[in-house]
């Protein structure tokens, strides 16, 4: 297999798995296809201590493949009803990998409404568990379309999740358990390691320039010294990705299923 033989979706999945490399024995909540497969390969390779569910009620001892099960039975190791989920959230033993609609420079996320709150232009899901997850747990994000509509200028339309804006806090200090980790997009990988937790680019997907990322972001980005390419998925990772996505649903994440390494 040549090192160019992987898709952009597979690159994002492998980069997403890295969100969980340094986690201990925590529950990961992986919303959406790329986070779900990313968590699955992390658990199946370098971090078997991660706890996952079948996407429904049960903790499982091995990740459940996405899509139709074709006779596969999830291997249960416990129950994870919603009340228990909230107990885990309060204790801080969870890492959520989620797909917000908007993110701002403070890492604040929005999935509730676009536009005016009283009569919004678009009503979405509601804040769901974002407020509690963000004030208590680690969070990472996947954004399939890196644009200024997703990475907004100013603050997001409704701040559903707590971030690194001290002015949002009653005592002027960012919450002690707020811990935003990584953002994986179709262009790059970012973290919150800049000045005062500013968002910075830590790797660029092959063929993407920092300028292209900056042009598609509504606020100023930092970059790490020696900014390099996002690490390509290994052959072992590609095999695991195929195992946990047997129906190749990952081919539908990006229009046209582009390669991970852009044609030059």
């Amino acid at each position: 297999m040549s090192d160019t033989d992987y898709s952009l979706a597979e690159l994002c999945i492998a980069a997403g798995a890295e969100c969980f490399r340094d986690e201990g024995e925590v529950m990961i909540t992986v919303i959406g296809l790329v986070p779900r497969i990313a968590g699955s390969i992390a658990k199946a390779s370098f971090n078997p201590g991660l706890m996952m569910t079948d996407g429904e009620y049960f903790l499982v001892s091995e990740p459940v493949p996405v899509g139709p099960r074709d006779g596969y039975e999830p291997k249960k190791e416990g129950i994870m009803n919603y009340e228990r989920v909230f107990d885990i959230v309060s204790r801080g033993q969870r890492h959520c990998f989620v797909g917000p609609v908007q993110i701002d420079r403070f890492g604040q996320m929005n999935i509730s409404v676009i536009g005016d709150y009283a009569a919004p232009k678009a009503s979405l899901l509601g804040a769901r568990g974002y407020p509690g997850n963000s004030i208590n747990n680690r969070n990472s994000m996947f954004v399939p379309s890196h644009t200024t509509r997703a990475f907004v200028e100013g603050e997001v339309d409704m701040v559903c999740s707590a971030g690194y804006n001290p002015e949002r806090y009653p005592d002027g200090k960012v919450g002690k358990y707020v811990d935003l980790r990584r953002i994986v997009t179709n262009l790059c990988v970012m973290d919150f390691g800049g000045k005062d937790n500013a968002i910075r680019v830590i790797s660029l997907h092959p063929g993407v320039s920092f300028e292209e990322v900056q042009d598609n972001t509504g606020f100023e980005l930092e970059r790490i010294d020696g900014l390099a390419e996002t690490t390509a998925p290994t052959a072992e990772q590609l095999a695991l990705i195929a195992k946990f996505d047997p129906h190749n649903q990952r081919a539908t994440v990006f229009r046209g299923n582009p390669p991970g390494r852009r044609a030059s």
């Binding site: 079948d54 996407g55 429904e56 009620y57 049960f58 899509g67 139709p68 099960r69 129950i79 009803n81 919603y82 009340e83 909230f86 959230v89 309060s90 604040q108 509730s112 409404v113 709150y117 009283a118 009569a119 919004p120 232009k121 678009a122 009503s123 979405l124 899901l125 509601g126 804040a127 769901r128 568990g129 974002y130 407020p131 509690g132 963000s134 004030i135 208590n136 409704m158 701040v159 559903c160 999740s161 707590a162 971030g163 804006n165 949002r168 806090y169 009653p170 005592d171 960012v174 919450g175 358990y177 707020v178």
Partner: protein, 294 residues
Amino acid sequence: MSTLDKTASLAELAGEVRNGMTLGIAGWGARRKPMAFIRELLKTDVKDLTVVSYGGADVGMLASAGKIRKLIFAFVSLDAIPLEAHFRRARQAGEFEVMELDEGMFQDGLKAAAKRLPFMPTRAGIGTDIVRLSPQLKYIQSPYEDGETLIAMPALNLDLAVAHVNEADRQGNSWIAGPDPFFDEWFCRAAERSFLTAERIVETSAFDDPAKTVRMPIERSLVERVAEARFGAHPSSCSPDYGFDLAHLKAYSDATGEAWAGYRGEFVDGVDLDSYVEKVGGPDAISCLPMPVF
């Protein structure tokens, strides 16, 4: 010997709802919602409800029927169809007030009411617009050395809670067969009065089974009325009896705005539960609806 018989019809349950009540609806999203009760409520002229729900089509239908004055929620979703079309339409039109909460603090509000406390302290909501948009949410400072500022999530005191269970007896004992009881117990504890609808009304002896008793979170003293409603959660799921009806949920989702009258006419107005079950495919078809796979 006197007997305790709490059984009633769906229409009798709906007839107990008054204008302006705070109504808690148990279940979660598109799962185990007391939908037969909701359709019965749609037939009444009750209005101005404050609805408290982890919302699905229950909220959507009440919204399209114009019965909601205020919605207390963390989300409204049909799970497999993430955005609830009826809720969206009404929310975008600003048809009702909202109190938007975090899913966990919503639970804390129910638990505060259940314990007859004014509030429960929580961190959820700090640093977000949740606090700015709901002025009734107040900060509280820990009286201990840490001095941490928290949110005092106010008790969600309900006038009435309604839950759908797999089995109940005439006295209000009940069994939730699915693996997740959601927050049904806490809705009932937070409420002045609670009604159950049940797939089956059974003899009390049906519960003389230790494997069943661990899934009986609602003690009968919480329950005022019980109505049998076979397939009463449809189109939401009632694990393990049936999964949600995705085709019906899609048709329902398409029936917003002017199309709502058509949906109502076909599935709600003048339609009793037996006719409804036939219209949506009959008992065998509902029983075969697969459990969702995510």
